[in-house]
Every structure is written in C-alpha cells, then in structure tokens.
C-alpha cells in the first residue's frame, strides 16, 4: 500500500505549517469532533508541550481535556489504558521516549496485550505520543529513538512521521484507530524555534480532514540506482544526500512512516527496481529496524540485491554528549552519502 503523496485532493486549500503545528491541528480536529478524546501528560497544558506537541490546546479545550499530570508515568499511562478500555480515546504523552523505562510495564504488558489476552474482546484505542531522537547534545538519557524497542514488542502500532503533512494525517489515523498506537515524533522534525532549523520541518499541509493509513510507506523521491529506506529525521538527511548526488547517482528515498505495520511491499518493490539497498536508522543498529528491513528482502528473495546491503545506524553505543562524538555516531548526511557511494560502486 504505497502512496507517493499525502492524499490531498488538488482542490484542497493548504498552508505551510511546522510538523508540531500540523500534529496539533489533527489533535484539535479530533477533540472537536469526538468528546471522548483528551490529552494527558507532563507540561502539556500551559507550557504547550516541551516539544510543542500541544500548543494552544489548553486555551481551546480547557483543563478537563488537556491535562497536566504529576511526574508519575506508570500511573497516568495506565490511566489512559483504563479510560480507553471504557470507551474514551486518550492521547497520552510520555515526554521523551527515553523515559519508557519507568512505565514500560504499563506499555507492553497492558496497553499492548489487553486486546490479545481478552481474545479480542477488549479494545485499547489509545495513542501514546513521545519525542525521540538526538543531535543537540542532550546526552545518553534524552537522545534515543527506541522505536525499534516499541516495534519489537507486539500489540501496538508504531508510527514515526517525518514531516508536517504526514504528521497530521497519521495523527488523525492514530486517534481513530481502535488499537494502541505509539506515535513518535523526532524533535528535529518538529520545526521548533529553539533548534537548528530544518528546512523540511515546515511544509504544505492540507487544511481539510484527512487520514494517512498507518502501514503505508511513501516514496518521497523516485530513483533508479539505489534505495535508501528510512524513517523520521533520516528521511530529510537522505533527501539532502539524494539532491546532492543528483546527476551522478539516482537515489530513491522510501519513508516507511510506520514500523508497525511495516510496509514490506514498498520495500520489496523499491529494491526490485534499484537492486541496491541502504537502510538508515537513527536507532541502535543491532536487533532493530535496519535488520528487519534487510530480512524483508532476504526472506522474500535474496537475489533481488546486486550488492551487499549498507546499514547506517547508531553503532550500538549510548548517544554521547559531546557534539563531535554525537555526530560521529548519528546517521547524518556524511555517513549516508558514503554508504550510498559504497553500495553503488560495486
């Protein structure tokens, strides 16, 4: 189920928004439409979310629906689960993905398993939002992506948008989904005023109500020489590299948009065309997304590949604080370009 564009009709009115504003727009629309939707988390009220995930929502919907919690993640994430079970549609924010450890039991043993354990009789229609990623020296406890960890644990969908239009359509889909959805936004794609400006973090966003189906990858750039399969901020970096190499190497960039479900068909059809694969992942290299993408190919037909795969990921080391060390382990443009050149050279 591969789409090449956000499904906006040509007549649609659109404006340029940051990813965070686009995300908030979807939440606000759903809160407007469905009184059972509410937003819960730390500093989501008057602060508007540390990463701008709830800007303006308190003013519009009041403190009964946009709720600041104590620093008690197990309790308030568990509360979201209970409320979801009883028919509400909570969106619950875990401020940083790195904090999952303090509340992981609620996430993977409860939020993610209740539907299964009930033999499909109980649904948990809840969204867990969380900020991921590094690149600004916030150190090893505040810079991880960890989407591979969430994706490894069965029972929850894992969505990771890379830009504004997708962020809106995927958020709408996440809130309407009857499953628990972990919605992970990379700080570097949000278009925050206090971070290095990423030009792609602000883009056209359709003003109307639309969903992007969870589990559909997007070919964000067509190419014939090599497929770069990636997600989130790395999509932006891969596009930078593709543009840089244009005329020399024709790079296709595939944005997976969600890890669970994973659009395996999109991976296969891209690699069937280019026969060369670079996987870029800002999460740890081992036992994660990059291995899963490669396995998708080899399980199906290793013969699709004309060259060994290149994986550009964090080399199984906690994210270092010092700028130069951090940049050495993150999959940034330099490492992506080198991998593309290597895989094409053979």
């Amino acid at each position: 189920m591969t789409t090449t564009h956000a499904p906006a009709s040509p007549a649609t009115h659109s404006r340029r928004l940051t990813t965070s504003k686009a995300m908030v727009e979807a939440i606000a629309f759903e809160m407007e439409r469905d009184p059972s939707v509410f937003y819960l988390g730390e500093d989501v009220g008057s602060y508007g979310g540390i990463f701008g995930s709830t800007g303006g929502l308190l003013d519009r919907f009041g403190p009964d629906r946009v709720i600041d919690t104590p620093i008690s993640e197990s309790a308030f994430i568990g509360l979201g689960i209970g409320a979801a079970v009883e028919g509400m549609r909570p969106v619950v924010e875990l401020m940083f993905a790195d904090f999952m450890g303090v509340c992981l039991d609620q996430i993977y043993n409860h939020m993610a398993k209740i539907h299964f354990e009930s033999g499909g009789n109980v649904r948990v229609p809840m969204v867990l939002t969380t900020a991921a990623g590094g690149g600004y020296s916030d150190g090893a406890q505040h810079s991880q992506c960890l989407w591979g960890t969430f994706a490894h644990l069965p029972g929850m969908k894992v969505v990771v948008p890379s830009g504004p239009a997708d962020a809106k359509g995927l958020m709408t889909a996440a809130i309407r989904d009857d499953n628990p959805v972990v919605y992970m936004f990379h700080k570097g794609v949000m278009g925050l005023p206090w971070m290095a400006k990423n030009p792609r973090a602000t883009d056209e966003v359709p003003a109307d109500d639309y969903e992007i189906p969870i589990g559909s990858a997007s070919v964000v750039r067509e190419g014939t020489d090599v497929s770069v399969v990636t997600i989130s901020l790395s999509v932006h970096h891969a596009l930078d590299v593709a543009e840089e190499l244009a005329g020399e190497i024709d790079v296709e960039v595939l944005d997976l948009r969600s890890l669970v479900p994973l659009d395996r068909e999109a991976i296969l059809s891209s690699v069937a065309k280019t026969r060369r694969l670079v996987v870029v992942d800002e999460d740890y290299r081992s036992f994660g997304m990059s291995g899963e993408v490669v396995a998708t190919i080899t399980d199906h037909d290793p013969g699709l590949l004309s060259r060994p795969v290149e994986r550009v990921a964090v080399p199984d080391v906690p994210i270092p604080y010092a700028h130069d060390l951090e940049y050495a382990v993150l999959p940034r443009q330099d490492r992506i370009e080198a991998a593309v050149r290597r895989v094409v050279a053979g």
């Binding site: 500093d43 919690t69 150190g139 406890q141 505040h142």
Partner: protein
C-alpha cells in the same frame, strides 16, 4: 591560580543543640559554599548563552544541550553537604551543580564535562545531567527520581563494609510522585539503610506547580507513612537545613536508618535555560527571595562577615570558577574516532 581544592572549606559543625548559634567558622563556610555555587552557575550561564545565536539554538555553542541551573537552591546543598565527607555518597538530580560543588566534586573536571571535553569527569560522554565522580562518590541522573534507588545500594555497601559512611539521595518535589521515590523509602526504612533522603521543593516541576501535582502539602508526611522521620523546612534557610541534616546524618551513621528532609526552596531561574516561564505566577517576587543576599546580610549583622571578607570570598570563588572554565576550554575535544569506546569495561 590554584590547581584544585578537594572540596570547599567547610569546617565541621560544632555539634551544638538545635537552635544554638552556629560557630562563626561554620557559618562562614556555609556562605562560602553558597557563593561558590552561585558564582559557578553564573559563569556556566554566561558560557552557555555566549554563542547560542542568532536566535537560540539549543544544540549550538561551547555548552550545548539542556541546562538546568540550581540558583536559589544553594542552601539545601550547602546545609546537607556540610556534614558529609567525600567518603559519603551523593546522588543528585538533573539539576546537580550545587550538590556537586558543595560535595567537593573537582570543579575543573566537572566543568570540562559540561563543556564536553576529554578532560571531563566522563570524558565528554555524559554531560551536565550525567556527572559521575568516583573520587567523591557523586552521581546524578536525568531520569526523574531514579537517583534514589542506587543510593540505597551505596548505603547497603557502606553498611556491609562495616563503615559509618552514608548515602544522600536528592530529588525534586515533582519527582516525589514517582514510583521509585516510594519504593526507595519503603525499602530503606525496612532495611534501616544509612540514607538521608532530600527533597528540594522549589514549587515547580517544569511548568506544573506542586499544588497542582501533589496530593499532600509536605513530603515529610510521606516519610511518616514509611515509618521514618520526615522534616519539612519552610524557609529556604541554610542554617535550618544544616541543623536538620545534622540529626539525619547522625542517625544514619549510627545505624538507626533513613530520614527525609524536605526543604521549601526556590528555583530562581527557568526550569532550563531558554525557558520563558510564561506559566509562572511567582516570577516577579522570586528575586526578592534570593537566599544568598539574605544570608549574607544576616552574617554581616552577626559580625561574621564584613566588606573585606565578602570581597575575599567572592574573589576566591571567581578565581576557582574561572580557573575551571579555562581548564575546560583548554581540554581537547574528544576524538570522534573514539565515539564507540567505553560501552563495556
């Protein structure tokens, strides 16, 4: 310039009963610690903002990343650490500098760490929220309340090793709503571990007021629920902290188990640097509650300090601080080729 002093020169308390006027040397020492801590943070603030522009890019500059400063909370660290030696352990929070300074963590190596340099406590790998100093048994954590449990283990080890060393564990009042806080109080109480739990109630957990997040007025009540002494100190006053800490530390050293001290203190600046604090309703009056000029005035009145002494203390502090900054800046940036080192021993 001096190379380093192991820890601020805080004389040991005279051991007078609660309410007794403290020995002038002790009072001066408390003031010195507070001044050193404030001077340190003013310098960090200066360096942090020096090159974040144009605009404010959190990832740029000599000190990148989040920066949580503790100005206003110095009385807590000074009062508690006055009773410790560097053989005792301190686990601090994401806002760790005042405790690190008061506990005698080497200023040069701490600063180099904050600057992300090879000469830092963690060779630039940890950063300002992750300072680990085996020489003073100091550590801190960026995850809320998660410094409490390791303190139990340090106390356990000290006790098993047959010493009277103790562990001090610090959280904010916001963190006291976290599971790790409650689990730690219970376990330490049950096993009579030599721990002093410290809660810094600066009224705010980022933008959320204590009154909006916490079901009790005082975390001292929560100590009582676990069968250990709990004391809340209302004024942000170093000598009151010192006095309470004297009792709690003595109790822990004597093998009588843990206690909790909550200090109603003050977050003078933002939660982190760059925080506009639009949510804050006490912002206008906050500077007038600064504990440092207040304590200075009190000591001047008591004849413990005069202009000369204050001037000496301030210039000694800035000399040490500027020396630490200079050391940090001259320490090399870590070699990117070593980025994957230290994952395993």
């Amino acid at each position: 310039m001096t190379t380093r002093a192991a820890r601020p020169s805080i004389p040991q308390p005279s051991g007078g009963a609660a309410g007794d006027a403290l020995d002038p040397a002790v009072r001066r020492g408390l003031y010195e610690t507070m001044v050193l801590s404030r001077t340190y943070e003013e310098a960090i603030l200066r360096e942090y903002h020096a090159d974040k522009g144009p605009g404010f890019d959190i990832g740029k500059g000599l000190i990148p990343g989040e920066m949580h400063l503790s100005a206003g909370q110095e009385p807590v660290a000074a009062g508690i650490c006055a009773h410790l030696t560097t053989d005792d352990a301190v686990t601090a929070t994401h806002r760790p500098h005042h405790f690190a300074v008061a506990h005698g963590v080497d200023l040069r190596r701490m600063t180099a760490e904050i600057f992300g340099r090879e000469g830092g406590l963690g060779r630039g790998r940890g950063g300002h929220m992750h300072l680990f100093d085996p020489a003073t048994h100091f550590s801190c954590s960026g995850i809320i309340a998660e410094g409490y449990p390791p303190a139990l283990g340090q106390a356990f080890a000290f006790h098993r090793q047959g010493t009277d060393r103790i562990a001090v564990a610090v959280t904010g009042e916001g963190a006291a709503n976290q599971g790790a806080f409650h689990e730690s109080l219970n376990l330490a109480a049950r096993w009579r571990l030599p721990v002093v739990f410290v809660v810094e109630d600066n009224d705010w957990g980022i933008s959320v007021a204590r009154t909006a997040s916490t079901a009790v007025d005082s975390n001292a009540d929560r100590a009582v629920a676990y069968g250990i002494p709990g004391e809340r100190i209302e004024g942000n006053e170093v000598e009151a902290v010192h006095d309470a800490a004297r009792r709690a530390v003595a109790r822990a050293r004597a093998g009588e188990g843990p206690s909790l001290i909550e200090v109603h203190t003050l977050r003078l600046w933002g939660h982190f640097e760059g925080d506009a604090q639009g949510y804050r309703f006490d912002l206008e009056e906050a500077p007038s509650h600064d504990p440092l000029p207040r304590y200075e005035a009190r000591l001047r009145e008591a004849g413990v300090l005069d202009d000369t002494a204050v001037e000496q203390i301030r210039s000694a502090a800035s000399e040490r601080v500027e020396d630490a900054i200079a050391f940090a800046m001259s320490s090399p940036v870590p070699d990117p080729a070593s980025a994957t080192s230290y994952v395993f021993a």
